[in-house]
């Protein structure tokens, strides 16, 4: 039996289009110090650091964690750098948790970040392999056909994406860290925003953000002594599948389904919709909320959109999703997965401020990346597993 692990500290930066007030070390340090402060610890109390971020091209620094070692207090300690595409924030946290669960360390600082303003991520994500034709522009160009396919399969009404975006943008108004906080946002404003990659409109897309998120994870005895109640790690799961092969269902990927099934099995969850109280899900483009509801087993096949329509995923619904405003409101790419985990853990620790829900016992964090290929999931609980 692996050692129990709890989240004892969480820190986030303010997400913004350009954090020109801080350097890269300044940005990561801001999140790290807030997480340590939350845990009432200092760098000296940390045994190891696990850092994650998306492609190094986004800042133009090769293996930047070597350069950031001092900024995150890692000098003299083990420092690992994880990169699993968009899911990286989630997988980074899971690697940190596994260092505790394996009994190797007592306390680990884990941190994910991106400073997108150092470059242009959209073109950074536009692959142009030698001797091949680049067929898409940015992540939206890649994911739009998957959404069109979902709409065709499910017969979902065309405003599902707009409704999801409206919910997340309204939630973001309750989150002081959110990058996009659009006062007075309404349905028409989103519906009338420019169509970028049909059916994805401008206001149905995530922004490009600078930001970092950090968590301190600790083994049971130390988690129990933390100044604030820990979020216990009930289960984690990771799955990956290839980008393309004939017959692959990229709309409802098997890797995501398997990861969810594995997660529920570990935590002894039979009915996720009923037993999980809320979820922070990686939704970079509005329609993905409906799609992931099915992939994660919260809704039957082709019925995920109904949860959006019926308000089930709203703050007052039976399964609130993206209480923080989600990736649609802040997207420091490498950090986004860890923000999902952190926001889920914050709900369990009752520290989510204005977007805190009542009575959260179990919360889910979810991240995905690549061409819907990489999945990292975690369940946090108030009660020790």
């Amino acid at each position: 039996m692996a050692i129990r692990c709890g989240v004892v500290g969480i820190g986030q930066t303010k997400y913004d289009a350009k954090r020109i007030d801080v350097s890269m070390p300044g940005l990561v340090r801001e999140a790290a110090l807030r997480a340590l402060e939350d845990a009432d610890l200092t760098f000296a109390d940390v045994d190891a650091v696990v850092i994650g971020k998306a492609p190094d091209m986004f800042e133009g620094v090769m293996l930047p964690e070597n350069y950031l070692a001092d900024a995150v207090g890692a000098s003299g300690k083990p420092l690992l750098r994880v990169h699993t595409a968009g899911s990286v924030g989630g997988s980074t946290a899971i690697v940190a948790m596994s260092l505790i669960q394996a009994g190797i360390h007592d306390r680990v600082l884990t941190l994910s970040w991106e400073k997108q303003s150092e470059s242009n991520a959209m073109w950074g994500l536009t692959l142009s392999p030698p001797f091949s034709v680049a067929v898409v522009a940015g992540a939206g160009g890649y994911f739009a056909p998957l959404i069109r396919s979902y709409i065709q399969r499910s017969g979902a009404p065309e405003d599902v994406g707009i409704r999801t975006a409206l919910k997340d943008r309204q939630n973001a108004l309750k989150n002081p860290y959110a990058h996009l906080r659009i006062e007075g946002i309404d349905f028409d404003q989103i519906a009338n925003s420019p169509m970028l990659w049909d059916p994805i409109r401008y206001l149905e897309s995530c922004p490009s953000s600078d930001g970092a998120c950090a968590m301190v994870v600790a083994r049971e005895e130390l988690a129990l002594k933390a100044p604030r109640p820990p979020a216990w790690v009930l289960a984690t799961a990771m799955r990956s599948e290839p980008n393309q092969f004939p017959g692959r269902d990229a709309v409802n990927p098997q890797a995501g389904q398997l990861a969810a099934r594995d997660l529920y099995k570990q935590a002894g969850i039979g009915n996720p919709r009923r037993e999980i109280d809320c979820a922070e899900i990686y939704v970079p483009f509005s329609w993905f909320e409906a799609m992931w509801m099915e992939n994660l087993g919260f809704a039957a096949l082709n019925e995920g959109w109904k949860m959006v329509y019926e308000g089930a995923t709203a703050l007052d619904g039976d399964l609130p999703v993206n209480m923080s405003g989600g990736v649609l409101s802040s997207n420091a790419i490498g950090a986004s997965g860890m923000v999902r985990f952190a926001e889920a853990a914050m709900q369990v620790r009752r520290q989510a401020g204005e977007h805190q829900l009542d009575d959260v016992k179990i919360a889910m964090g979810h991240a995905y990346g690549g061409g819907s290929q990489y999945f990292a999931l975690c369940l946090f609980g108030v009660e020790k597993p």
Partner: protein, 349 residues
């Protein structure tokens, strides 16, 4: 801690490859899996190491995973580090008890660009990178400091190169090898004083792969599994002016945590891309003069960035598996001037 052993290893290193990264990698992975005796579908975890900056585009590892195969979906992770750290993550995963086996691989195609210059992008992006100091110049700063602070001379550096190249003659995966002597090498001009060509790594394109498994499974699969008795890694501060470049405190610390000092080692595979770095590391590890260093020829004779650390560990494992030693130190490094170091202790039965 669970006992974990290396049960297979495969590698490819070539001075310059016509094949792309995935084409280089696939046969290496297939060979490692085949040699392990474990059916591909039964390997519990996959972890890899690579750098997007070598390929010049994001997500180098995504294309690699497509080639390696991940269907049905696999438990998998990737580090933007030398493959030796992928081995570490896989070892941790086995320690959690969640899986009993793992496939670890790494790859790098150094010839796609000017790799010494590309490595300038690893430095402080605000104050140092804009000066574009290439990797050889940064290493030369370290070599100068080391030589001035010790009794060692350029001849000692040349001796490292002579020995490495001679040993590499027995290694089909080395890209530089041959019999030479220090006088000949020292007659050559400096590349970057005090370093000459022979002091600098012969960069290569290639890939490495290994399979590691826990306890009973290892003894079932292999007649002589190579046990990872200890493994640890540490990092030093990044700023070149902050630390004493003639030492490698993170290597010292990692070695002590990995248990190197608990018993003498028969030989060591040290990831020292530059000749003077072997001497610095040798001191950091407290190795006596009798310990044979880099019987493979080491990273001086074939350095595939992102995989040469894992390559050293694999070379040491192969040697132990063949019975040419019972206990070895294997090491990987990353970052400028030996900033980050991983050490593991390998043992035969």
């Amino acid at each position: 801690m669970r006992d974990v052993a290396i049960v297979s290893f495969a590698q490819s290193n070539t001075a310059r490859e016509d094949r792309n990264e995935v084409e280089i990698l696939i046969p290496v992975v297939q060979e490692a899996v085949k040699r392990s005796g474990l059916p591909r579908g039964e390997i519990g975890f996959t972890c890899s190491g690579s750098s997007d900056f070598l390929q010049g585009q994001p997500f180098a590892f995504v294309m690699a995973l497509d080639g390696v195969g991940a269907w049905p979906p696999v438990k998998e992770s990737h580090v933007e580090m030398d493959g030796a750290w992928a081995l570490y993550e896989a070892w941790v995963k086995i320690q959690t008890g969640e899986v009993d086996s793992a496939l670890v691989y790494a790859f790098g195609k150094t010839s796609s660009g000017d790799v010494a210059e590309v490595q300038a992008l690893q430095l402080d992006p605000y104050c140092v990178t804009p000066l574009w100091p290439d990797a050889d110049s940064i290493a030369a700063l370290q070599a100068r400091l080391y030589l001035e602070g010790s009794a060692r001379t350029e001849r000692d550096l040349a001796d490292v190169a002579v020995r490495s190249r001679r040993d590499a003659m027995d290694n089909p995966h080395a890209v530089a090898s041959g019999a030479t002597d220090a006088e000949t090498l020292l007659a050559e001009p400096y590349r970057c004083s005090p370093l000459r060509d022979h002091d600098c790594p012969m960069t290569s394109d290639g890939a490495t792969a290994m399979v590691i498994v826990a306890g009973d499974l290892a003894t079932r699969l292999s007649e002589r599994p190579v046990w990872i008795r200890g493994i640890d890694h540490r990092i030093d501060p990044p700023a070149l002016g902050v630390r004493d470049l003639s030492r490698a405190p993170s290597a010292e610390r990692a070695a002590s945590r990995a248990g190197v000092l608990e018993a003498p080692v028969d030989f060591a595979e040290i990831d020292a891309p530059y000749t003077h770095q072997e001497l610095i590391l040798r001191e950091a590890f407290g190795l006596s003069d009798g310990v044979r260093i880099n019987p493979s020829g080491g990273s001086l004779c074939a350095r595939t960035l992102m995989s040469s650390g894992l390559n050293r560990i694999g070379d040491a494992a192969l040697r132990i598996a063949r019975g040419e030693g019972d206990r070895a130190l294997a090491h990987a490094t990353q970052g400028p001037c030996l900033q980050q170091n991983l050490v593991c202790v390998l043992e035969g039965e």
